[in-house]
Amino acid sequence: MKPRVPVLEGFFSDVDGDPRLLGGHCPRCGAWYFPKQWSFCRNPHCEGGPLDDAPLSSRGRLWSWTDNRYAPPPPYPAREPFEPYGVAAVELPEEQMVVLGQLARGTDTAALSLGQPMTLVVETLYEDDDAERTVWKWRPEDSG
């Protein structure tokens, strides 16, 4: 069996079945960032000091969603034959921010509604000769 490896390092962790997005957190003003992107806080009301590495909440509420029916251009690693995929925007209450992710495979987009609870999962995005490349996704909580 091939190893499961994140498609990019540093964006999420999946330890003991507890997937988390890896962001930045400002110890002074409390602002969150995902991805961390830069080493410093960019809140103009803050002193702009260094950020801590911090995992984000793994649950939030659905802000919006869509279902993509056409293959995007590279660098999206589209499977052959192309499989439609959903994308969700999820609002994290504690962080007061919206984070995008694909919808977990098999999500029935017709059954979704604004504000419903969503939870973070990790799934395979594509497979190459060496590994299954994984990414974070959002799954509606009531779909198990």
């Binding site: 498609v7 990019l8 964006f11 400002c26 002074r28 003003c29 409390g30 602002a31 969150w32 960032y33 995902f34 991805p35 992107q37 960019r42 809140n43 103009p44 009301h45 803050c46 802000w63 919006s64 969603w65 869509t66 279902d67 993509n68 029916r69 056409y70 995007p72 251009p73 590279p74 660098p75 999206y76 690693p77 589209a78 995929y85 994308v87 925007a89 962080e95 007061q96 921010m97 919206v98 984070v99 995008l100 992710g101 694909q102 987009t109 509604s113 604004l114 995005l125 990414v135």
Partner: protein, 396 residues
């Protein structure tokens, strides 16, 4: 304070022509010079909007156009602000004129677009949000448009039929526009049969990518009064090129997450509202003063958002405003009398200037079958990815 006027406008028709963007830019520039009644020898500043998809010449569009028009020893600038590039170039030229460092300026935007979805620039660049959103999520531009559209449906009860009505309106507006790429009147049934691209948006809800060019000639008041037909010169009452204010908690292309609302007061206005507010403030005008507006209908649903962002109606009221006929030619404040992106497709660095060309044509009363009766004030608004706003207000 002195004022800046638009003396001349020119465009190369939108389409997929398969030639260099510089060729389109030269056609538009020569048309604008002729319309203004000046020659290249009268120009003392050239500003251009950049294109990222045409190699080095696109990054240095100012000098590319200067060379293509025949080197004239002009100072040039090249601005990149994605879809707002044309307005940022216009603003650079206006600042030169108002500072007294130039008398007459030429502003050009032109693009040669690829087929299909816009993708990021090649290479493996995990530090680039534009690369990340494609690689990790497959979040194309229509993905974002669809997220906004679905949110509008959930919050305000908008329906795909409302979105289709925007397309029906704009497709009729553009029928008589010789610069439009698509001149076909769509029916609701035809739209409903169009394939879904990103639910709830169908292919014809989403703007295409086009080749095209637009150019304007600007002059300061004191210079303008010595030149040409005063009645055809339109005043630039405002140019807004603002960014969002932190924390921007509304999802914005190409980011995969918003700012966090923790630790800072919310901004006075959401980003798109703020783009218009800055222009209204500079012009000393408000939404009730508008005769017409050109708004950036990247999708049909987004046009409805813009109605609210520019203050034509309150949040959630855009569908009713649309169905009242107020934004249709003949209504109180026609929106996208040119046909909008629905009929043009986007030629990125040209688009904000194309909007300005339409406003000038309307304010001059030269728009023919798509003329807005008695137009005196026009607003053009647009948003480029990476936090670029653009709003221009012109008056007679």
């Amino acid at each position: 304070m002195s004022d800046v006027r638009i003396l001349g406008i020119g465009m190369h028709p939108w389409g997929k022509w398969g030639r260099s963007f510089a060729e389109y830019g030269v056609v538009a520039a020569r048309a604008a010079l002729a319309d203004a009644g000046v020659t290249l020898a009268d120009i003392d500043y050239l500003a251009a909007g950049d294109t990222m998809r045409n190699g080095y010449p696109g990054y240095v569009a100012g000098s590319t156009f200067a060379q293509a028009l025949g080197w004239a020893g002009l100072p040039v600038s090249s601005s990149y602000a994605a879809c707002a590039s044309g307005a940022v170039a216009l603003d650079a030229a206006r600042a030169r004129l108002l500072a007294g460092q130039a008398d007459v300026a030429l502003v050009i935007g032109a693009d040669t677009a690829p087929k299909g979805f816009f993708g990021p620039l090649p290479g493996e660049r995990p530090e680039d949000p534009d690369w990340l959103r494609f690689h990790l999520l497959g979040a194309t531009n229509p993905t974002y448009f669809a997220l906004y559209a679905r949110r509008r449906m959930e919050r305000y009860g908008a329906t795909p039929k409302d979105f289709a009505a925007v397309k029906v309106k704009n497709s009729r507006h553009g029928l008589a526009n010789p610069n439009a790429r698509y001149r076909k009147a769509f029916t609701e049934d035809e739209i409903a049969e169009s394939p879904l691209v990103a639910d709830p948006l169908r292919l014809v809800d989403i703007c295409a990518t086009s080749d095209g060019a637009a150019a304007v000639v600007l002059a300061r008041d004191d210079v303008a009064t010595r030149r040409g037909d005063q009645g055809r010169q339109m005043h630039v009452a405002a140019v807004s090129t603002v960014t969002p204010t932190y924390p921007n908690t509304d999802l914005d292309m190409p980011d995969i997450a918003t700012d966090s609302g923790v630790g800072a007061p919310p901004p006075p206005r959401p980003f798109r509202d703020a783009i218009a507010a800055a222009a209204y403030e500079e012009a000393g005008l408000g939404p009730d003063d508008l005769s017409c507006a050109e708004v950036y209908d990247l999708s049909t649903a987004l046009e409805l958002d813009w109605y609210e962002n520019i203050g034509l109606c309150g949040p959630g009221e855009a569908e009713a405003l649309l169905h009242s006929g107020a934004t249709t030619l003949g209504g109180r404040v026609p929106v996208n009398p040119s046909g909008g992106l629905a009929c043009f497709g986007e030629a990125i660095p040209a688009q904000a200037l194309a909007q300005v060309c339409e406003l000038v044509t309307q304010l001059r009363g030269e728009a023919g079958e798509r003329q807005v009766d008695g137009a005196t004030v026009g607003l053009a608004i647009n948003q480029g990815l990476f936090g670029h706003g653009s709003c221009t207000i012109l008056t007679r």
